[in-house]
């Protein structure tokens, strides 16, 4: 079995999964959502964004919805993406892995804080 591309989950892919947890979004909206949830630290460029999306689609962590016209912003046809249940699961396990890491960091006094 060839090594899976998303194991471990790259942070860009994780952020995309998180962005899609709320609602179905198109590429540019994902980029904006990711920028927002990282306080502007991560601005995904088209190459990174779509290569991550491609890998996520291949692993069936997200799915592409039928193209639809976004009449509000501009009447272009855009591709929308939706989180699958497998995607939600992998995002949760990644979050749990990070939480474990956080607990370790706290016990080693690298990070302060009361709870995870």
């Amino acid at each position: 079995m060839p090594k899976r591309k998303l194991d471990p989950l790259p942070s860009a892919a994780f952020q995309i999964l998180l962005a899609l947890a709320g609602e179905d979004l198109h590429g540019y909206a994902i980029m904006r959502q990711v920028a927002q949830q990282t306080d502007g630290r991560m601005r995904l460029g088209p190459g990174t964004l779509y290569s991550s999306i491609q890998s996520l689609l291949e692993e069936k962590f997200i799915e592409e919805l039928d193209a639809r016209v976004d009449t509000k912003a501009s009447p272009d046809r855009r591709r929308y993406y939706r989180l699958t249940s497998a995607g939600r699961k992998i995002a949760r396990s990644e979050a749990e892995r990070l939480a474990d890491l956080l607990r370790v960091a706290r016990t080693r006094k690298i990070l302060r804080g009361d709870y995870v």
């Binding site: 980029m31 460029g45 088209p46 501009s74 009447p75």
Partner: protein, 468 residues
């Protein structure tokens, strides 16, 4: 400008990525460029793009590679046979030498074979008793087609040309005479031209035409000497396959139901050539239309598009890649731009009730909005009709280059698989001037290079809106 640079950068990505996500990536760049105005945001945008390139390019190429490497492994795991096409050893010197010698021999043999075969077909046809014009020696005949149409592919054209015999000439002239009498717009002129063709034929003047191209040119000249009608022509198409499906002007002949179905699905996949619909800043609508497609198929698409642009402050029609289409669609789209029916000149039709736009279109708010049309030297035919009429009606500002100049008012009549005639069947009424855009193109109001037309038109529209 920046869009173009990014489009170039996108080419660095592997083709599988560009095919799948090229458009989306371009769209994302456009979205960001639109939202992030000003020097620093622009700078940040470009830094992001470059960083993105550096990070994602190796990954994309790496992905392609890993897929290649992984493929045979997974096949073997599933127990299926696999072939190793990637050799790890270098080929032996002996094999290289043999390969080189074989290639050289094949290359050398090719021209020799060609020169052997070519004169044989020429001589063969003349030896079979066909008359090739007056008493000329055969080497001259062999060279004649080449000297008469230099740019043509020699093989097919020469083969078709050499076969032209007296019976064929008679047949073409007879067909031309019959078509003229039946279809030409002016019966009296048609009779005169038919008489002239027959008279020339009787005097043996057509015998000088040894090939199809020459005969077509000669007969066209004979007809035009009488009528001075530059839209009337007799054409020879060397490629028989092409001639059976398309007319001399490249328009497809009457489609079969199969063709129509194929066309319909192609149109649906292509979004009816409504290439791009965008809202530019200040609610300026932008519509890039790459043809005027069949109204019977694309009407819903056209209606939806125009409805989505109904609330714009100004509208830009980008026809720079539009090579024409159906006059019905041209006039249908134009209908949205007026609040009362306007006379819509069509060089291919008589004036009828259909010659007026179906204005006002119910619900359309575009009738009093500024209109800009982007043109290029490629803008042709139906797209030029759109430009010409809007310009003459002073309803639009044309920005770009002088258009290509094809009005094509002749209707095609097929004679056989090689010959056909373009015959003007109608005399349209042009209310503006004697000449339309045939041969000359439509002059833009604002002359700029095609690639600068969008920017210029957008500026013009903005200035106009600000003045209000």
């Amino acid at each position: 400008m920046s869009e173009k640079i990014y489009a170039l950068l996108l080419r660095l990505y592997p083709s599988h990525f560009r095919q799948a996500y090229g458009d989306s990536a371009m769209q994302l760049f456009r979205d960001r460029a639109r939202d992030e105005k000003g020097f620093f945001p622009k700078l940040r945008l470009w830094l992001d793009m470059l960083a993105d390139l550096v990070i994602s390019l190796p990954r994309e190429y790496g992905n392609a590679h890993s897929a290649l490497i992984a493929a045979p492994v997974s096949q073997r795991l599933e127990g299926a046979p696999s072939f190793f096409v990637l050799e790890s050893e270098a080929p032996r010197p002996g094999a290289l030498l043999l390969g080189g010698v074989l290639s050289l021999t094949a290359l050398a043999a090719f021209p020799v074979l060609l020169s052997e075969l070519h004169p044989r077909t020429q001589n063969g046809s003349s030896a079979s008793g066909q008359q090739l014009g007056r008493s000329q020696s055969s080497p001259q005949q062999a060279h004649q087609p080449k000297s008469q149409d230099p740019g043509k592919p020699a093989d097919r054209a020469a083969a078709g040309n050499a076969n032209l015999d007296d019976a064929e000439r008679q047949r073409v002239v007879d067909a031309a005479v019959a078509d003229l009498k039946q279809y030409y717009v002016d019966r009296e002129e048609a009779q005169k031209m038919a008489d002239a063709l027959l008279a020339h034929r009787k005097r043996g003047e057509d015998d000088a035409a040894a090939n199809g191209q020459a005969l077509a040119g000669l007969l066209t000249k004979q007809m035009r000497e009488v009528s001075h009608d530059m839209h009337l022509e007799l054409a020879y198409i060397p490629d028989a396959m092409l001639a059976s499906r398309y007319d001399a002007l490249g328009r497809p002949l009457e489609p079969t139901p199969d063709d129509r179905e194929h066309f319909r699905s192609a149109m649906e996949q292509n979004n009816c050539t409504f290439e791009k619909i965008e809202m530019l800043p200040h609610d300026i609508g932008y519509l890039k239309l790459n043809s005027f497609p069949d109204l019977s198929i694309c009407r819903p698409k056209a209606e939806a598009t125009m409805a989505s642009l109904n609330h714009v402050n100004a509208i830009l029609f980008d026809l720079r890649d539009n090579r024409g289409g159906q006059p019905e669609m041209v006039s249908f789209v134009a209908g949205y731009l007026f609040d009362h029916p306007e006379y819509w000149y069509n060089p291919r039709e008589n004036t009828t009730q259909k010659s007026w736009t179906q204005s006002p279109v119910k619900g359309s708010k575009l009738a009093d909005k500024p209109v800009y049309v982007l043109t290029s030297a490629r803008t042709a035919s139906g797209a030029e009709q759109f430009c010409y009429n809007l310009k003459m009606l002073k309803r639009a500002t044309l920005v770009g280059e002088t258009t290509s100049g094809s009005a094509h008012s002749g209707v095609w009549h097929r004679i056989d698989e090689h010959f056909g005639m373009g015959i003007p069947e109608v005399k349209p009424v042009n209310p503006y001037a004697k000449s339309d855009w045939e041969g000359t193109g439509v002059e833009p109001d604002v002359k700029v290079k095609a690639e600068d037309a969008l920017k210029t038109a957008e500026d013009l529209a903005l200035r106009k809106l600000q003045k209000k």
